[in-house]
Symmetry: C2
Subunit: 182 residues, 2 copies
DNA sequence: AGGCTCATGTAACCGGTTACATGATTAT
DNA sequence: ATAATCATGTAACCGGTTACATGAGCCT
C-alpha cells in the first residue's frame, strides 16, 4: 500500500507525470523506499481508477506525449488520513537478508565472515560519502516558502546518515571480535 | 527467497517440525525477519518438492502427529552457497513506511508530527528494554561447543540494540528541532 | 468453563520485481 | 556513431500477508 501513499504525497505537492515521479522517488526517498518505474505506472492506473488521482494527457511536439496526474479531493483526504494515523508496531519493522546471513555465519570459517563484514563496511563507507551531499541538495531544492517541508526531508536524510554510521560502527566491532579469536 | 534460506539454516542445525521452526523464528531472527506460520508451512512443502529438505511423519499419542524435516545434501549445498556469496548492494536495502510518513510530515502541524515522533520514541524505548534480555538468553541457549555459533547470534542482537538506540537519538533530535520552531 | 500449548494447514489476495518492448529527440 | 533523456507501458511471476479452519490435551 505504501507506494500509493508515496505517489499521493508527491502529487499533493504538485501535479506530475509518471516519469517525474520516477525521478522524484529516485532522488529523495530512494534509500528507504525504492520504486520500480513499472510499478509506479501500474499504481498510477490503479489510483486513477479508484478516483484518488486524475490524469490528463498533454500533447508535445518535440517529445513524447505525457500524462500529468493531479491529486483529487478524495485522494488528498486518503493521504492525510494515512499521515495522521501512527504506524503503531510496524514503525520498527524491517527485513534484512544480510542480517540473516550474519546470523548463520557460524557455518563458515571466521576469516570468511570477517571478510564479508569488511566488504560490507567498505560499501557503507562509500555510501556514506555519497549521502553527505544530500543535505545541501535538499536545501537548494526546497527554497523559500517550502522551508518547513524540507526540514522533514532533512530528518529522513539525517536518519539515513545515522543508520549507515551505526552499520559501520557495528561492523567494525564484529570484525574486531572475529580478529581477536583467530 | 530468504525465508527459504532461514529455514535451511535452522534445519542445518538440526531436524525440526514446522511448529519448531515457527518458534525458532519467533525467538531469534524475528526482529529482522518476521515469518508467518502459514508461510513457513508453505515454504516447507516447496523445499521438500525441490529436494532441499525431506520430511518424516512422527506419530504421537498424547499430541498431534508431526512432520520432522531434515536438510538434504543438496539443501546444505544450496544454503552454504547462499551464505558464501555476499549480498552486494542489497545489504543496505530496506523499506520503511514510517520514514515515508516522516518525509511527508510537512503536511501536518508541527505539534502533531512531534507527537508522532514522541510516541515512536516511547515505543523504541520499551522495545529496547525487551531487547536487553536477549544476550543472556542467547548465552544460556547455546552452551558449550556451539559457542562460536552464538557469537553471530550475539552480533545480530547487538545490531538490533544499536539500531533502536539510533532511532531513539534521532527521534530525540527531531523532536527538539520541532519544539524549537513552535 | 476458558484459555494455552501442540500441531498443520488452505485460499484468496496483494504488493512488488523482473524482463521485456518501443521510439523520437538531444547531447557528446 | 553512441548514449542519454524523455516517456509509457505489458506480462509473468513471486514472496509474503490475511483470514480462516481444526482439534486433542493440559493447566488454572
Amino acid at each position: 500500500m505504501s507506494l500509493a501513499f508515496g505517489i499521493l504525497g508527491f502529487l499533493n505537492y504538485k501535479p506530475m507525470s509518471g516519469y517525474d515521479l520516477v525521478k522524484a522517488f529516485d532522488s529523495s526517498v530512494e534509500f528507504f523506499w525504492h520504486a520500480q518505474n513499472s510499478h509506479i505506472y501500474l499504481e498510477l492506473k490503479k489510483l486513477e481508477k479508484q478516483g484518488y488521482i486524475s490524469g490528463e494527457t498533454v500533447m508535445q511536439e518535440d517529445r513524447p506525449n505525457k500524462r500529468i496526474y493531479s491529486i483529487t479531493e478524495s485522494g488528498r483526504e486518503k493521504f492525510l488520513d494515512w499521515l495522521a494515523k501512527g504506524e503503531g508496531e510496524d514503525a520498527l519493522h524491517f527485513k534484512s537478508a544480510f542480517l540473516m546471513k550474519v546470523f548463520f555465519s557460524g557455518n563458515m570459517p571466521p576469516a570468511q565472515s570477517a571478510a564479508m563484514l569488511r566488504q560490507f563496511k567498505v560499501q557503507c563507507e562509500s555510501y556514506l560519502r555519497k549521502m553527505e551531499a544530500i543535505p545541501e541538495s535538499i536545501d537548494s531544492y526546497g527554497s523559500d516558502k517550502e522551508a518547513y517541508q524540507t526540514m522533514y526531508w532533512q530528518f529522513t536524510a539525517d536518519f539515513g546518515r545515522r543508520l549507515i554510521e551505526t552499520f559501520i560502527a557495528w561492523a567494525g566491532q564484529c570484525i574486531e571480535t572475529l580478529e581477536a579469536i583467530s
